[in-house]
Symmetry: C2
Subunit: 338 residues, 2 copies
């Protein structure tokens, strides 16, 4: 049976249920507008750990454990765990999840990771390869800042285009059985490099990749933006969101009505002085695995297109004068499986 739609999209026909989900958020995120939807808000950046990297690992571990607990799933019943993060060699995932004893498939999609892990975890279920899988990712302001930019003690000035890496981890458990919401489509993105080389303007770098994947999704599925209650990008921020709207408009798709970006929802960007908005794998992850899934549960959203957006650069590539290749992966989620 061919499950392919068009060039980039697959359609899940056997029912991929989002059985459970959980989100662990940092202190600043806990002061933002979505605070009450998180399962846990940390009181400081360390959470009792010696290093921020260990804190981030603990967040992933806790997000998966909490998601399992919420639906009375035993960790050992998860057949395949898809995970990734922003740190070199994805150590938040590998160290965080090593004690579970669950078959582990590491992915690297930068900040698109929540969508990539959800897509691949859905493939395993819909293809008949597993009955239960999980997807998890995380980011931490302190680990990302010191790895990608400057030591925190340096106190570097942030330009208005800069985004703030979210401290947070989100996990979802997918199952063959359940009563939804369902992951219905996965549109895997292509790498798009628009030539942007300013690592302080990630939204502008990633927007063309988001637009490319969104256009592909609409073409492949013969849908239009208005078919969704909400279209949600992961972390384009203020500037990237506006570019994405313009680029989709040129393709004939009107995104002005029902489109938002997790980077603009996770913080009150003016009050919290967040410049262009939140970013990081955790940004989309805690918004999706908190507020958004709660809205599904409350029947306030019926159809969602979630588009994880990632910048595939490294400090080494930047030092070597390279531009920023980006990618976006999309998953469609619906209450009734259509």
């Amino acid at each position: 049976m061919n499950k392919k739609l068009g060039r980039q999209t697959v359609k899940f026909t056997n029912g991929v249920n989002i059985l459970s989900y959980a989100s662990i958020a940092g202190q600043k995120e806990g002061e933002g507008p979505l605070a009450k939807y998180y399962d846990k808000v940390l009181e400081d950046a360390e959470w009792g750990e010696e290093t921020w990297e260990k804190t981030e690992s603990k967040m992933q571990k806790t997000a998966v454990a909490r998601a399992a607990e919420k639906s009375a799933v035993e960790i050992k019943d998860i057949e395949y765990l898809f995970a990734g993060d922003l740190l070199n060699q994805c150590i938040s995932s590998t160290f965080g999840l090593r004690d579970f004893g669950v078959p582990f498939l590491g992915v690297y999609g930068a900040c698109s990771t929540m969508a990539e892990t959800l897509g691949l975890a859905s493939v395993m279920i819909d293809g008949g390869f597993a009955d239960m899988t999980a997807a998890v990712t995380s980011s931490h302001f302190c680990t990302a800042e010191r790895q990608y930019r400057f030591p925190l003690e340096y106190g570097g000035q942030r330009p208005p285009t800069a985004q703030w890496t979210v401290t947070g981890s989100g996990a979802a458990i997918l199952s063959k059985n359940g009563d939804g919401p369902y992951v219905t489509h996965f549109t895997a993105g292509r790498i798009i490099d628009a030539g942007v080389s300013d690592a302080n303007n990630m939204g502008a770098a990633m927007a063309p990749a988001a637009a490319d994947t969104l256009s592909a999704h609409f073409r492949d599925t013969e849908r239009i933006p208005q078919d969704y209650d909400l279209i949600l990008t992961g972390d384009l921020g203020k500037i990237g969101k506006s570019i994405a709207i313009d680029m989709l408009c040129e393709e004939g798709f009107d995104m002005t009505e029902n489109y938002n970006d997790c980077g603009l929802m996770v913080f009150d960007i003016d009050k919290q002085d967040m410049h262009s908005g939140g970013s990081g794998c955790g940004c989309g992850a805690i918004t999706l695995c908190g507020y958004i899934m709660d809205m599904f549960r409350a029947k306030k959203i019926k159809n969602l297109l979630f588009v994880g957006t990632g910048a595939l650069l490294s400090p080494t590539s930047t030092m070597q004068g390279e531009s920023i290749p980006c990618i976006a992966h999309a998953v469609a989620i619906s209450a009734d499986g259509e």
Copy 2:
């Protein structure tokens, strides 16, 4: 249809053909015993590029292009490209493959990447999600050494347990159509941390993960080592190989007859002064996508169990006093699809 065998293994029932493959090898690898099986041997470490990272990217790009060319496949017919490497943020893959315009799914499995990408690329075909996919990975001695260990100019002493990161890239194109060889099983590994913390003794760290996945594969499939013409780990080297044999023996599996490690095949380790053997994503990749696949073509091998072995550490985790979590993923390949 349930395609799961036991706890960790999936069986592909629809025919996943290895349609084509290619390998690009470094200079030192080109002086090794498998030289004539590589599609291209580089004359120096740079291959005309300004930085070794760019060389490694060019190797991945060329491996995929060469594999496509060998079977008259057009790049645009590849529906999903699974790739990963050892560099921070997997820049060999993202920069190497960005111009192809093919939907891209980045993975991070350290040196287990060739098996992980092959497994997931097979899942897409067998599950009905694609007709053609590709898997590629690479490593480069100079990029790995300076990222993980010391600047090359430092000239650090290497203990006898040390392995030598292979410069090489291997790519395979998988297709629903063809006449084999076929990928028949994928056993995804669990993270195993045996407490080893010596980054100069990776073989010892990874052997327990290899043993765990091999045992799981034999249990899940109800097979024994003797069912395979060859069992091949990716880069355990001399010490790791010997530990793996002992650990499997304790589980009741005799691996003394038909088991080898790519790290011991890719170099003449005594003549080439390679200490414990070759390592890196490229080690398994060029051995599999060169000599081994040529042996399938020549009908000298009929059944292979290929086990990619990865150490999921980072320099940061080592500096923070952590041990080395490891993983191994296995794919079974057979000439007749059984």
